[in-house]
Subunit: 194 residues, 2 copies
DNA sequence: TGACATGTATCTACTAGTTGGTAGACTGCT
DNA sequence: AGCAGTCTACCAACTAGTAGATACATGTCA
């Protein structure tokens, strides 16, 4: 599986990624990319044979990027609370500066039954990855006596992820990036053992 | 503003509503409705001049239904905790039986920048309504000493709504309605003053 | 009662524009 | 020579939406 792309292919993928974040799978077309990247529609097909393949490639790279990022957090930041804060802080920054106003897997999860199966598989994979990472952090924090979990680490992790995704939705609905922080900040405090 | 629809128009609107819940604004077409309701595409245009108008009508009725439902809960159920449980329980049932696997306003919020402005306005309106209702319930519960709020009722309400919406997303991603309950149940326990 | 009008609901047939995708030719680099 | 990358020109299918005819039910007036 080759994830290295030519410069133009990378540009197309990056454009597709931002279009996915704002409009979803059915909300953008090859014409949109064509215009943004200054290339003909046919040339996009040269790099990615189909829309499904393009989006799948975007997701594979997105997931890889996420795994690397989360692994780096787990490695470089010792305290579990700070690890969670690094995760939410990353998204707060992305939403605030508008560079990535939404997790594309959350976006595609909403459209799950209206997208190609191979794309849907990647979306499900991301949810599993993210929840596993969060559960591990929560479990470590609980073992260290920093977090007080009310349920299993897995359930707590799913709830955490759900709130973060819901916060992205709310920030978009209210047209206000600060809404994300406002919702997510208390989420961290609440986990602490008092 | 007339919200009474002829039987066929109501059937079209109800079909559009379920298509919106599963695929979103850009995920369905007049052809889908045409097939499901056994009517020609042109006849749909007789009842609703445009897609934007159709969806706006669906949202107006959806919001009205929601307001009536939430008002009934507030009126008939005395305890604030039971009121929240009625809200989440309603959605748990809808998701479990597949009748409404997603809040259409949450769905459309994700697509917010890719839908007509008049539709987007209704979506924003729903978020305001829902948060106001939740904030009122939370405030009443806090005043009665039942809930222990860590932040303002408004912030707590937004976080509550975000988790519920995120739980819908997760249930869809995992293809498992029980995930919704699993996430939302602890949310209620956590609010209680110990 | 009968004639005519009005309004609602439906249809077939059509439009212009967009969708994802293909064929084949041209360029320039190795 | 071969290949990666680009293009113009095209395609069939689909998109929301329109035009105009037809059916039928409900009036209202003479």
């Amino acid at each position: 599986m080759n994830t290295d792309l030519s410069p133009k292919a990378a540009e197309i993928a990056s454009c597709a990624r931002s279009l996915l974040a704002t409009a979803g799978y059915n909300g953008f077309s090859y014409a949109d990319i064509s215009e943004a990247v200054h290339i003909s529609k046919a040339s996009i097909h040269h790099h990615f044979p189909s829309k499904a393949e393009l989006v799948r490639t975007v997701l594979v790279r997105y997931r890889e990027e996420g795994r690397v990022g989360l692994a780096a957090v787990a490695e470089r930041i010792p305290a579990p609370l700070d690890q969670l804060q690094a995760y939410t802080g990353y998204w707060a920054a992305c939403i605030r500066d508008g560079s990535a106003p939404f997790c594309i897997c959350a976006m595609l999860a909403a459209e799950l039954s209206a997208i190609p199966a191979e794309v849907a598989d990647e979306v499900r994979g991301h949810f599993l990855d993210l929840t596993a990472w969060l559960a591990a952090v929560l479990e470590r924090g609980a073992a260290a006596g920093v977090f007080a979990l009310r349920t299993s680490p897995e359930t707590e992790a799913m709830a955490f992820a759900a709130t973060v995704h819901g916060a992205m939705l709310s920030a978009r609905a209210y047209g206000n990036p600060e809404v994300f922080t406002q919702i997510v900040q208390p989420l961290l405090d609440r986990l602490l053992a008092h």
